[in-house]
Symmetry: C2
C-alpha cells in the first residue's frame, strides 16, 4: 500500500478554534514537536493575516527541522489584479517556505456569492496564483475549499477548479469538507471520481461538525487519497478539524497503512499532552487513543475482566500509542477496583472488611465533591487511615491568610501558619504572589526545621474547579495539586528517580481546599520518605 | 423509511465514564429530561450493582414519564444455577420495569476466557435469562457484547447467540462494539448478515475508542438496523459511547430518517447543557451541533463571509438544533469581528481608528491571559473606555480579605472594602462561606447606599481556571463570573426581562482576579441601568 502523507495544520487552521491561542514561542515549540513526531508537512500560518505568523516563518528556519516541510498558507490572488501585485502573494513569497498552500473556491455559490467574480475569473485566479508560486520554486499544495459541497452542486465545475490548479503545477489537490457537513459515502464517491480525472496526489481535509471528521478522512483514504490534513487534538474552527493522532493510529493499526516513522505511534500520547500543555487547554479525557480516560476502567465487572486479560475491554494495548491503563475508584467500583488500586503495596486484596470500609469512605467523600481519579496520593492516605498505616506528622494550631489591596498598588498576600510538631511549636509567616503561594510558603517554613526532606517535594500543577456552581460565590471548589518528589533521596543509585502524584481538597473556601491538598501532599511525601528510608 | 428507535443509556453505560457521577436525584432529573426530548427507551441502571440504581427504579415510576419506556440492565444468569434462583434476575424483576435489557457474551474468547463456561452453556444462559424475563411479562432488549469482534472471529457462533436470545423472545438484538475498535465497513457487513439470519429488530451500540462511534452507528443504520443506543454528550467508559445528540441530528438532517418527535431537534442543545449542568461537567465546546463553539466563527475571513451569508461556513443553521451563532473576538479577528461584536449599540462599524485601537487592546490583554469569548460585558467596558462611554461609579481605597482557620473549627472568611463614591466614603465589612463571597458581600454593602439598583444583579456562576500552570501556586488564574440582571427594573411591561452576561479577571492572586470580575459586573450593570432609565 502506498504511504499516506500527514499534513498538520494545528498552527493555522487549528488556531481558528475557540480557546486555542498560541504565542510565537508556542508555535515554534509545537513545530519542533511535530517534526519529532515525523509529520510530513507543517502548515505554520497565514502570513498576510497577522504579524506573528510572518515572524514564525522567519524564526522556524533556525529550528533546522529534520523531516517536516514547512508550508505557508494563503488565498488565491484578488480579482482584477496581477498575482505578482497582490499583497497576499508577496507575504507568501516573503515567508520563504519550501511549500505554499493555496486555498481556492470550488463552488459556484461561493465564487459568485462570496467572491463576487465570474466562474472563469475564479479559474484564472487559481491558475495564476499557483503558477506564480511554482515560478518562484515553491511546491504547491492546493486546498479546494468547500469541495464536497461544490461537487454535490456541480461536479463538473468543481473538477475544473482542481484541473486549473494541477495544470499550473500544484502537486497535491486537497479536497476540503470546509463546513464539516458531508457524510463518508459522499466523500468516498467524490474522491474516487477526482482520482479518475486528475493525476496529482489527492488529499482530504475534514471538519467535525457532524462528528464525522475521522470517518470522512478514512473514507477518503479508502477511496484512494494518499494525503491527510488535520490538527493535533482536533483543534480548529467550530467543532474542530480531524484529529491527526487517532487518524494516524487508525491508519496504522486498523488498516496497515504506512505513515510517519516506525516508532512514531508510541509518541502520539505525549504529543497530544504537549500541545494541550503549551496551549493551556484542558485535555479531553475521552479523546480516542491518547486521552487520559482512553484506557480507564471504572465498572467493577470491567475491572475484574481486564485484570484477567486486558484485551477483554481494550481494542489495542495502551502502550502501543504511548498511553497507559488506569483503574478508577468510585461508587461504581467493586472491591476489585479498590484492591487493584491499593496494589501490592498494601496487600488487602483478601481483606473484604477493609475493602468494604474503604469503598464506603470513597463513596461518602464523592458525595461531598471529592474525586480520587486524579488524586491518587489522597486516596492512599485515606486507605492508610483505614488500615492503621497513617501517621500524623504535625498538628495545625491555626493558619491565617490576608489579602490586602490598596488603590494603585498590587495586591499583597501574606500567610501565617502555626503548627505543633512533636513537642515543639512552629509559627511562621510568608508572602507570595497569591494567597495559596503565601500559605504554601509558610507551611513549608514551619515544617522544614523538623523535616528537611520537605525540600525534595515540589508542586508542579495547581487546578481549581467550581463544583455545584449554582450557589454563586458560595459554591464548593475542588482543588487538585500535582507534585513531583524524589523517591529515594538518600540513595545514590536511584537519585533522580521521580514520582508524580496528585492530592485533592474540597471546601466552600478556595483557600481551605488548597490547604487540605497541600497537607495531603506533604504527609504523603513524609510517609514515603520514612518508609523508604531502610529500602534500596 | 422506517422509524429509528433511540435507546438512551446515559444513566447506565454513561455513568461508567470517568468524571460522570450522578446522585439519585440527578438520575431522576435526567430521566425526566430524556422523556421530554422524546427518546424511546431510558436504561436506568444495573440494579444488582448498587443500591442507588435499585432506588431509581422505585422512584422513576412516580415521574409518570409520557413516552419513554424504562429499562433495567443486567447480565445473563450465572452458570450452573437456575435463572429464577440468580440474585441478578431477582434484582431485575424487582425493578418492575416494562423493559429488561440483558447483556450476553457473543465470542468464544469471552465465553471461555472471561466466563469460563462452555459455548453451549453460554447459549443456555442467554436463552434461560431471556425466557424468564419474558415469562414475567417484560419486553427484552438483548445486548450482544463484543458482537463485532466476535463476528470477525467466528461469525457462526456469534449469530447462534443472537438466535438463542431471539428464540427465547427478545424483541431487539443490539449488536455492541463494546471495545470501540471496529471500523464502519465491518459494522455494515455484520449488520447486513445478521438481518438476513434473524427476524427481530436489530440495533447498534457503539463506543468511540477509534473516534468512530458515530460513523459506526450510522453505518449500522445504513445497513438496515433500526435501533440506536448511545448516551447524551457521549459520556461513557474510556472514550465514551456514541453521542446520541449529533446521531439524532445526522439521522434527521443528513439522512431524512424518522426518529423522536417532530419538534425534538430544537431541544438537542438544551438537553446537552442540562446534562452537563446536572453532572457538574465541563462541556466540550467543539461538540458537534450542540457545543458552545459549534457555530463560533473566529477567523476574520470566515466572520466576514458568514455576515454575508451564513451557509458559507455553516452546514446547517444553528437554530435547527437549538444552538446559536457566535462571533469571537481574538487576535485572529479582523475588524469585522470587533464591529460585529460591538453591534448596532455602538455604531463604530465605519470608524477604522477605533476598531484598530480596540483590536490592539484585545490582543494585548489576550497575551496577559484574558479571553473575552465568555466575558462579553468586560469586552463592552473595554470598548466603552475607548469611545468615551465609560463612567467610573466608585473608586477603591482598599480591600482586605482574611481567612482564618483554627484547629477544630471551620475556616472563617471576612472581608472589608473601603470605596470612595462621589464625595462620600463607604467602609463595610462582611463574612462569607469563602473569601470571594465575603468580598462580594462587602462590595455590595459599600455600593448599596448610593446605588440601590445593585440589588437587581445577581451572580449565577463562578469559574476559576489556572493558566500557565507551570509556575505552581504562583501561576496566573483566570476568573469568569456569570451574572443575571433585570433589564428594565422600573418598567412594569418588561419586568422580569433578564440579561445574562459574563465578566473576567486575571491575576496571580485568585482573590484579586475575582475582585476585577466583580467590579466589571457591577459597573456593567450600573451603566446599563443609567442608560436604560429613559428608554421603554
Amino acid at each position: 500500500m502506498s504511504r499516506i502523507e500527514i499534513y498538520d495544520t494545528t498552527l493555522r487552521d487549528g488556531t481558528q478554534g475557540e480557546g486555542f491561542n498560541l504565542s510565537l514561542q508556542d508555535k515554534l515549540a509545537i513545530a519542533q514537536k511535530l517534526d519529532e513526531l515525523g509529520v510530513d508537512y507543517i502548515e505554520g500560518g497565514f502570513p498576510l493575516s497577522n504579524p506573528k505568523d510572518a515572524a514564525f516563518f522567519r524564526d522556524v528556519r533556525e529550528l533546522k527541522l529534520k523531516h517536516a516541510k514547512v508550508a505557508a498558507f494563503g488565498m488565491t490572488r484578488r480579482r482584477g489584479i496581477k498575482a505578482e501585485d497582490d499583497p497576499g502573494m508577496k507575504a507568501l513569497l516573503e515567508a520563504e517556505t519550501p511549500v505554499v498552500t493555496i486555498v481556492g473556491k470550488s463552488s459556484e455559490f461561493q465564487v459568485t456569492k462570496v467572491l463576487g467574480v465570474s466562474l472563469e475569473e475564479n479559474l484564472k485566479m487559481i491558475g495564476d496564483t499557483v503558477a506564480l508560486m511554482r515560478s518562484a520554486g515553491r511546491q504547491v499544495v492546493y486546498d479546494a475549499e468547500h469541495f464536497f459541497d461544490a461537487y454535490k452542486a456541480n461536479a463538473e465545475y468543481a473538477i475544473r477548479t482542481l484541473l486549473a490548479a494541477q495544470e499550473a503545477g500544484a502537486s497535491v489537490l486537497a479536497l476540503c469538507d470546509t463546513n464539516g457537513g458531508s457524510m463518508p459515502e459522499h466523500v468516498a464517491r467524490a474522491v474516487a471520481d477526482v482520482l479518475k480525472q486528475t493525476s496529482a496526489r489527492v488529499g482530504v481535509h475534514t471538519h467535525n461538525d457532524c462528528g464525522m471528521a475521522m470517518a470522512n478522512g478514512l473514507a477518503g483514504i479508502a477511496a484512494g487519497a494518499t494525503h491527510g490534513q488535520g490538527t493535533i487534538n482536533g483543534v480548529g474552527e467550530r467543532c474542530g478539524n480531524m484529529d491527526l493522532l487517532p487518524f494516524i493510529a487508525n491508519l496504522r493499526l486498523k488498516y496497515g497503512h504506512d505513515c510517519l516513522r516506525a516508532d512514531s505511534l508510541k509518541h502520539l500520547t505525549e504529543t497530544s499532552r504537549y500541545v494541550y500543555e503549551i496551549a493551556n487547554m484542558s485535555p479531553i479525557n475521552g479523546q480516542p487513543y491518547v486521552g487520559a480516560s482512553a484506557f480507564a476502567h471504572k465498572g467493577g465487572m470491567h475491572v475484574h475482566a481486564v485484570q484477567k486479560d486486558a484485551s477483554t475491554y481494550e481494542h489495542v494495548s495502551p502502550e502501543t500509542v504511548g498511553n497507559s491503563r488506569k483503574v478508577l475508584v468510585s461508587e461504581m467500583s467493586g472491591q476489585s477496583n479498590i484492591a487493584a488500586k491499593a496494589g501490592k503495596k498494601f496487600d488487602i486484596e483478601s481483606d473484604k472488611e477493609v475493602l468494604r470500609k474503604v469503598l464506603g469512605r470513597v463513596q461518602d467523600l464523592e458525595n461531598e465533591g471529592y474525586q480520587f481519579e486524579a488524586a491518587e496520593a489522597s486516596f492512599e492516605l485515606l486507605l492508610r487511615k483505614e488500615i492503621g498505616r497513617y501517621r500524623k506528622y504535625f498538628e495545625l494550631d491555626h493558619y491565617r491568610c490576608v489579602i490586602l489591596r490598596q488603590n494603585g498598588s498590587d495586591p499583597l498576600s501574606e500567610a501565617t501558619v502555626k503548627l505543633h510538631v512533636g513537642g515543639d511549636s512552629q509559627h511562621q509567616v510568608a508572602e507570595g504572589d497569591g494567597p495559596v503561594a503565601a500559605l504554601d510558603g509558610a507551611l513549608r517554613k514551619a515544617l522544614r526545621a523538623h523535616y528537611p526532606q520537605i525540600d525534595q517535594v515540589h508542586l508542579t500543577d495547581y487546578k481549581v474547579r467550581v463544583i455545584n456552581s449554582k450557589d454563586e460565590t458560595s459554591a464548593k471548589v475542588r482543588v487538585v495539586i500535582e507534585c513531583k518528589r524524589n523517591r529515594s533521596p538518600g540513595d545514590g543509585s536511584t537519585e533522580g528517580k521521580k514520582e508524580l502524584f496528585g492530592t485533592i481538597g474540597v471546601s466552600t473556601n478556595v483557600i481551605d481546599a488548597s490547604w487540605q491538598a497541600l497537607v495531603d501532599a506533604y504527609e504523603y511525601h513524609l510517609v514515603h520518605v520514612e518508609e523508604g528510608a531502610g529500602q534500596p
